[in-house]
Symmetry: none
Subunit: 215 residues, 2 copies
DNA sequence: TTGCCGACTGGATATATTTACAGCATGGAA
DNA sequence: TTCCATGCTGTAAATATATCCAGTCGGCAA
């Protein structure tokens, strides 16, 4: 197969993707719109060139009559997410956490979910099932799975998972001269002011992502 | 998937075979000729029945807009690995969805994400990047990846992806004696009242889940 | 019997799609 | 410089397709 120019390759790729996404090849007009051409004829010219070079085959007067011939298989474009370690097992989903017990204790693992770390802002170490509506304002609803990355420090304004005495909670972190406050993102819930003396505050990890089933 | 009659199965098989043989689904006329019908309308009726039973999916006014749903995916010969179905390649992230003021959406696969179907309420066929804040009340924020399952019908109250003319939007479906309305979940955004006459409303699929990176 | 569904025929029509024709601009090769 | 390939815009016409409407027929269940 003769070599394709970058532009021609883009047309070829679009055909391949459309085939995969819709089950049928695109029309000239669809190609033109997708690649930003004002005229479908530009796509037509490209197709003829691709056919001449042996990358595709065109059916005469046949709507969507484009067949891929070239040998380039679909590749996982983009970077492949590299997990820290246990890629195969997926992320553990943690349910309710008993008081004082380490979050990642085996007995808390309900199941495992295979998820690419690519969808998180940073690699997650486990998933936590959110309970309650205190963070709905941040788009974190009751029942959501929260991707958590274990860290030792939080920065101002970040959403993280904290342990306050016996309770594990998700809140936005805020610290100023008056001390630390854990802010809820729901007017119906009060912010939590942490009394450095009396309360025992621990950071479980940073919230790096949310997964939710919509029914 | 509802059971098919022998005749319906023959139509289904012909679509599958045509897809494998030519790289594109057949037209009504081609189906009619292949199965010996004198009228393409006979094929049309069969297709509608197949769609109703969930065996295929029909694209509105789209030439060769037939998509197989039931059973094993067919091997598009040539270099095209069929997407959709799954696991190995992950879900395709397709274009952007206007969730605020409708924005022109150019459909096109941006990347792929490995996600277990288990986190969705139903298997997703692809992921769409949400654009806009009109569904924040439902915990769907700007930039979120929305898991979409291609279907042919929505039920009252479900959140789905609609195409209104050239615009793609995520909204909650509502239908009553006055007609169809697409409800935003954000007081700052107006609900969309669909004019059955003037507007061309199409269902892209059901929202089955949300993925979001928190930074 | 009545009514509904699966299976068609035939004809009409609005779109969707392909394709030809006419140009324009750029850059490399002869 | 001239020729040619790449890459486009724009318009129009010829076809290909999807879809709607109006009926027909036989089987089956209420």
């Amino acid at each position: 197969m003769e070599k394709l120019t970058p532009k021609q390759q883009r047309v070829y790729d679009y055909i391949r993707d459309t085939l995969a996404a819709t089950g049928a090849p695109p029309t000239r007009a669809e190609i033109a719109e997708a690649l930003g051409f004002a005229s479908a004829n530009a796509a037509q010219a490209h197709l003829r060139t691709l056919a001449r070079k042996g990358a595709i085959e065109l059916g005469s007067r046949r709507s969507r009559g484009i067949r891929l011939l070239g040998g380039a298989p679909i590749g996982l474009d983009g970077p492949v997410a590299n997990d820290d370690d246990h890629t195969d097992e997926g992320l553990a989903v943690i349910g309710r956490v008993a008081a004082g017990m380490p979050v990642l204790a085996v007995e808390h693992i309900e199941r495992r979910v295979q998820v690419s770390q690519a969808i998180f802002s940073a690699p997650a170490d486990y998933l936590l099932t959110v309970q309650g509506d205190s963070m709905t304002g941040a788009g974190i609803l009751d029942g959501d799975l929260l991707g958590v990355r274990r860290t030792t420090d939080v920065r101002e304004g970040q959403i993280a998972v904290f342990r306050l005495g016996d309770d594990v909670t998700v809140k936005r972190f805020h610290r100023d001269r008056d001390g630390i406050r854990l802010l809820a993102e729901n007017p119906d819930y009060p912010d939590i002011t942490v009394d450095a003396e009396a309360d025992e505050l621990a950071l479980e990890g940073l919230a790096v992502g949310v997964l939710r089933a919509i029914s």
